[in-house]
Point group: C2
Chain length 598, copies 2
């Protein structure tokens, strides 16, 4: 029989009690983490959000009836305890917990709720299978490590909001039921009952609405908001995810970067006591690719790419020479001190390179005596070898790995190889936070599927002023006022300055191959809105889930989302999505297409 808490009032959370309360009467409530019986005395570890507190129950204090109740307690029972704070004897002090020097002598005990034995133990760093954890997420969420994650997430939102408030951003809510757009990822659709055969779409981002707010004069907008993409899920994707989204008027790139650097500095200082020194280093897209083979470089370690094409353009190694002759390049990374990797490790790296599109992986080990171990040196002149070694700052004990192919393949292979080597060396420290801005992304990229250029960011992204003439002559060369903020190799946010000038927008649509009519078909009311006076504006959106994942040193965003979905976009706990009643579909004028199902 569970009891009511009537007449009792919690006075403290578990770890709000301390030596300062000695001899005081207090009331605490929580879950029983553990019960131990020590010959006529029962000890409870009482758990709440704040931590653990020890309760001592003996019949002489609590009476026979109370003691009998205590004997029924099992793990996860919810109890209320009225008692007195006492000092623990020196030999029972537990320095592992915040309240380890005190305990509560119970004078009243209520069993507020009984509990069956949970399907798994509620404990830190549990190795229970994720599927089971997510099915019983309400129990999994009791684990102190997950609780710390969600508390940190709440703190992140709170401090970000405070900062944005101070900077005169307005929080403005944009619609969740909106219109499907032809560009971008796949929309989640919502059938309309009132308008049969018509659908709302859940927003992939508030992009259009925040731009409208700027041209409505709201000056600075922010929102921490759910966004939706119906994509096949990868490890760190969820069908619904959360953005810290902002947009500012009368700004250029430096203004947006400046304010966001201060936001990052403040949140990391207040939450993690990590100092982010400003300004954060900036790399152009081209620099990032050339040095790290990635537009989201992990700069916690070196192993940077070096272009050897000039040195090797006339070399005798066919693989290298033909890569260069075909407009590609030969580049290398120097895995400092990895010359002692066993052959099977180097072979595994070669296979890894192949999985990223390489046709093979050439390598040179510089032996301790200065000689080389390699199958390719015989095709190269001494001068070429010397120049390679010099270019990559090779020292005895180093391992030089080569990529030779089209540039995009070389970047991808070497960019991923440097990450793989770092992982194998276990040098990626999760408590080291390296930020970097990547700027000047290409405005357009050629889509072989669409046989036209498509916008890399979106069609309203502003080109660099000096590149505007190239829009007419060589669109692929145009750089955009677009920027990403990267933390430890993860893109945690990105944005751009938007086009506010009609003439440039027209050039842009022209480069994208749209006629005026096609442009209006696609972006109708936004283009109409742009007729009535547009301020220069730009913005940025963070992936909150990813930031908090990195802050909490978690391996997956599912560890920082209260009720996440799994890879097939379902929720093992609620069993969503599920079947619905025939009547519900009839009201929506919808039928499930059996042909598709069978």
């Amino acid at each position: 029989m569970s009891e009511s808490m009537q007449g009792l009032k919690r006075s403290h959370r578990c770890t709000e009690v301390s030596k300062d309360n000695l001899e005081q009467k207090i009331t605490v409530m929580g879950w029983v983490q553990k019960r131990r019986d020590l010959g006529g005395v029962i000890f409870l570890d009482l758990r709440d959000r704040s931590g653990i507190l020890q309760i001592v129950i003996d019949a002489s204090s609590i009476g026979e009836e109370g003691f009998a109740k205590a004997e029924r307690i099992r793990s996860e029972f919810v109890v209320a305890v009225e008692g007195v704070v006492e000092k623990r004897s020196d030999d029972t002090v537990n320095s592992n917990i915040a309240t380890g020097d005190i305990e509560i002598r119970a004078y009243d005990l209520r069993l507020l709720s009984e509990a069956e034995t949970p399907p798994f133990q509620i404990e830190e760093n549990s190795d229970v299978k994720e599927e089971l954890r997510l099915k019983y997420r309400y129990l999994d969420l009791r684990r102190p490590d997950i609780q710390r994650n969600l508390i940190m997430r709440s703190k992140m939102s709170s401090i970000a909001r405070q900062f944005l408030d101070q900077e005169k951003f307005l929080e403005i809510e944009t619609p969740m039921l909106t219109k499907s757009t032809p560009e971008g990822a796949r929309d989640y659709l919502v059938p309309s009952r009132v308008h049969p055969g018509n659908f709302y779409a859940l927003p992939q981002s508030p992009q259009i609405f925040k731009q409208l707010l700027m041209l409505s004069g709201y000056d600075r907008y922010y929102q921490i908001v759910k966004c939706f993409r119906d994509e096949d899920l990868r490890a760190d994707r969820q069908p619904e995810f959360t953005q810290i989204d902002m947009e500012l008027s009368f700004v250029d790139v430096d203004d947006v970067i400046n304010i966001n650097e201060r936001l990052l500095q403040k949140t990391f200082k207040q939450i993690l006591d990590v100092d982010v020194s400003l300004p954060i280093e900036r790399l152009t897209y081209q620099e990032a690719m050339d040095r790290f083979g990635s537009d989201k470089p992990d700069t916690r370690f070196g192993f940077e790419l070096v272009d050897l094409s000039d040195i090797l353009k006339d070399c005798g190694f066919k693989v290298f020479k033909s890569a260069i002759d075909n407009g590609g390049s030969v580049r290398a990374i120097n895995a400092k001190g990895c010359g002692n990797f066993p052959r099977r490790t180097i072979d595994a790296l070669g296979e890894f390179a192949v999985s990223y599109g390489a046709k093979g992986m050439a390598w040179i080990v510089i032996n301790e005596d200065g000689s080389y171990k390699s199958v390719i040196t015989k095709f190269l002149s001494e001068e070429e070898i010397a120049n390679i070694v010099k270019s990559v700052d090779g020292q005895p004990g180093d391992l030089i790995l080569f990529g030779a192919d089209k540039n995009e393949v070389v970047y991808d292979v070497l960019g991923n190889l440097r990450l793989e080597i770092a992982r194998r060396l276990d040098i990626l420290k999760k408590d080291e936070f390296k930020f970097i801005w990547v700027t000047d992304f290409p405005l357009l990229e050629w889509s072989s599927e669409n046989k036209r250029y498509v916008a890399k960011h979106h069609p309203f992204t502003m080109p660099l002023e000096e590149d505007i003439p190239l829009l007419d002559t060589d669109p692929s060369k145009v750089r955009a006022k677009a920027y990403d903020i990267v933390l430890n190799g993860v893109e945690i946010g990105g944005g751009s300055i938007r086009i506010h000038q009609k003439e440039i927008q027209e050039k842009m649509f022209n480069a994208l191959g749209f006629t005026k009519e096609e442009a209006y078909d696609r972006f109708g009311f936004l283009l109409n809105a742009f007729k009535y006076g547009v301020p220069p504006h730009g913005g940025l959106a963070y992936g909150l889930d990813r930031i908090v994942m990195l802050m909490t040193q978690s391996d997956s965003i599912r560890e920082v989302i209260a009720f996440p979905k799994i890879k097939d976009a379902s929720c093992p706990m609620t069993e969503a999505p599920g079947e619905v009643e025939v009547k519900q579909l009839e009201e929506l004028s919808l039928k499930i297409d059996k042909l598709e199902l069978e």
Copy 2:
């Protein structure tokens, strides 16, 4: 040709400039509200979020080229102005605007964006039709009154968050893509592509998730969150609306009320400088019905209901007597000082009463000489009349209005009559804020549709302790630990303490006519979760749209939502919902049911 802002940086918003900046060089940017040409000098009213600032442009300061540009300016052009702050001459001071004693002499001018003539003037309190306003919402949103509304909304969210932060609430996000539930209003469904024929539902509220968070030990949760109901829209409903949602563990009614009173006090003080004196008055549901004929009484004025059934139970007026004999009642309100209403007004009130289900409306005017004007007094004894007048505190010049029927009809008729009279007297002041708690709602109500009791709040609402035995014997009499907070006759929030005791939950399901199996069918994983230790908990949710509507003295929640929908749940601006491509439906294994459409 629109110009770039390159090389310029805004130094102030319009009304951030003041006499303190005299002789300083500043840069401002914004929209041109108005251009006036005064013989060789052009004046601009420059507008931004902060307000209006006057710009003076003459050729001698800005040069011929700049002046020529200025001559092209029309309303809603976006311009940047570099200039010097000057004092206005005494005869040109405009005390209507914050910056009325200064003006900016322009030395540089850029036309950042031109503007076509808007379909309506951008001005305060526009009388433009709402349909047109919402089609061009991006222009409508430029109006200063709407901007004030959205700024106040942002402030409300911000201060509420600050308060909840301080009170140790965690902001925890709950899923938007979740499962359809058989109880409650109609869900918005979202078809699943990965699980053909299955659907997510958008949440009507985070109710189940917030309860799970409590039993996971999160102690205090809040979220400002979108909720969805696919209902036919009334004036103050939207398909998506925003709740300030909270839940607390180890609390009873007084704890929830206390913390929310402090929240309301703080927000109204900081936003409106309105003092809410605590504690806020509480009425039980029964008191609210008896005194105001409504469970959301507007207490800004009197005209309270008085039960005359005892006085009139043996009276000679058949309509009264039979109402009482049939288990109903006779009640009256005294419209103080309304004895001078013309006969046609009283007749109109009678028709109004009929529209709420009355069969007619008896009334007595107390003439200035103490005599009565009425068609019913002849059926009543002098003692009965005297008792009526005494009961309602009738004075010469008063108008007494009667309701006689089943109690629910009498409440509804008189409750609405008192509101209607207040409206006619124009005594409802929008800047007066009267809060009231309504508590002790009935736990259950009989559903003639379902032929069983249904939960008035929801099936997890806790009964008053002393009423628990009635669950078995007389369920209709059981009062709930449920409470609403009412402001000026609008329910702005509500909540309850939830059942945490298995035994009481079973009684509740029993009263609702569910077997254990049926209960599990409906509330599956929540009931499973409840097996593993549940803290006493309860919460409350506010309708943010409604609160801000009242705060801003708006007539509709559409005035406080950036991009609202109209009555048919569509958005005139985006034209959502809309048609989608065949491919999108194929991917979802859905077909539009033509039979339904034709």
